[in-house]
């Protein structure tokens, strides 16, 4: 068997190195992408829980299942910024009030449950983007004061 020439050896090592590094980088970036997406989803899940709990205790000042603008804004701020007044940084990048939906269940003409969900929010990572539609979501029974105008 003929010994391999030094130049061929150099090329072989280069190819191995390239393949190995490419594989490792793809693997690590894939793991990072999943990890980041999961992190964002978990943050959103906790945010909608806090938002739904806040909505369940705030005085409901609308006579219908459509909440007042002030009520809706306060709940959206609670989800996006972690406080009902708004301001500061969103809990996850690019999350806006428009991504937060609030559904109020009316029974016998009074609120009995509130549900908060994230919708049309893309989790953008390196390779692809996943758009969340109506998830995560959380519902609580309404416990606040019903005070229609």
């Amino acid at each position: 068997m003929m010994p391999m020439r030094p130049t061929a050896l150099r090329g072989s090592v280069m190819i191995e190195f390239t393949l190995t590094v490419t594989f490792l980088v793809l693997l690590l970036l894939g793991a990072w992408q999943f990890g980041y997406a999961f992190f964002v989803y978990a943050e959103l899940d906790q945010a909608v829980r806090a938002g739904a709990r806040y909505a369940s205790l705030r005085t409901y000042d609308s006579g219908t299942a459509t909440p007042s603008a002030a009520f809706l804004t306060a709940v959206q701020n609670e989800v996006v910024y972690g406080n009902s007044a708004g301001g500061g940084n969103p809990i996850v990048p690019s999350l806006t009030a428009a991504n937060v939906t609030l559904s109020v269940t009316f029974t016998n003409a009074a609120p009995t449950a509130v549900a908060v969900a994230i919708t049309n929010f893309p989790i953008s990572a390196l390779f692809t983007s996943v758009t969340l539609s109506n998830k995560p979501a959380c519902q609580f029974p309404y416990q606040g004061v019903f005070g229609p105008p």
Partner: protein, 354 residues
Amino acid sequence: MRLTVRRRKDQAGYYLVALTLSLPFILGASALAIDIGRMYITKSEVQDFVDSAVLTAASKLDGTAGGVANAQAAAGSNPKGWSFGINAFAGAQTSFSTTSAGPWTTSPPNPPTSYNYVQVTATVNLPMYLMGIFSNRNAASIGALAVAGRVPVTSIPGGEFPFSVYTRAASPDNAGDPYGFQVGNQYTLRWGSPGTSTKCGTDATKPNLSTSGSVRGYCCVAESGATLRQAIVGALTDPLTISQPTPMMGAKNTETAAIAQRVAIDSDPNTMPYAAYRSAGNGNGERVVLVPVNGGAPNYPLEGFAGFFLSSFNSYVGLNGNDSACAEYIGAWVGGQPVPPTGQTGAYHLKLYQ
């Protein structure tokens, strides 16, 4: 030269060998990132479920076996799912207690008197897609627990009905009640002219605790007609704390009729008394109001809170400044429970304990 060639020969395949040897560790680390991420999300989802389910269940408890059954059904039908909201929770356990610390039972006695606390536990088995390759565990058991129940109200941030009744502890209809009231009896929300007259139940025959003709029962809100009407209908009232003076205010001649507007918001504006209203099940609870109870002149100290039931719509239509306005005492008021049971006293919120 020979040495150099040999070294390069030795290097051939080094990266592949190194990659092969380290691959289990690299894949294991990736598996940890992905599977632990899913576990973290699932834990949050399970906690969402039990928190929501336990509060819904607690709002159904009313001291009857039917309330316990409703609580169990409500906890089991919560819409929250796991695995990114796809899978429904199954096998959640609902148990009950007379205290927030337990002991817990899934079958309370009948009637379940004082069983005002609920515990919901849920567990899911999350499949481990990658970690299972490197260990014997193909699934992770992830559980959560939540407890909810009543907590007495000692101060409120607002939301009370803007009338304060006088305690009848000194001349009680029922000596076992902290305020001397009898469930089912009518008491005075608003006093008629000249300020100490009333047609409400036994109040008319008992010593009056008001020494002022101008204090008619209105409280807890700025003294203007528009503000008062808004407070009656929409419960926009001021904070109150037990043992502090109740902020009573002067007479308003025209706002009593706003009580009729409040009654009209209820989906059952006419059924009386409260037992019949509750039994009919058509009301949304707008006629059930949280009323501050005060100790009388001169400082009107806030003795506590009580639940009252507003009379029918027609009872308040046409009332003028000379008329008294009455409401039925129902015992306890429970926030988050629009139509609470009778037989208990005080005011409570439903609290998520853990």
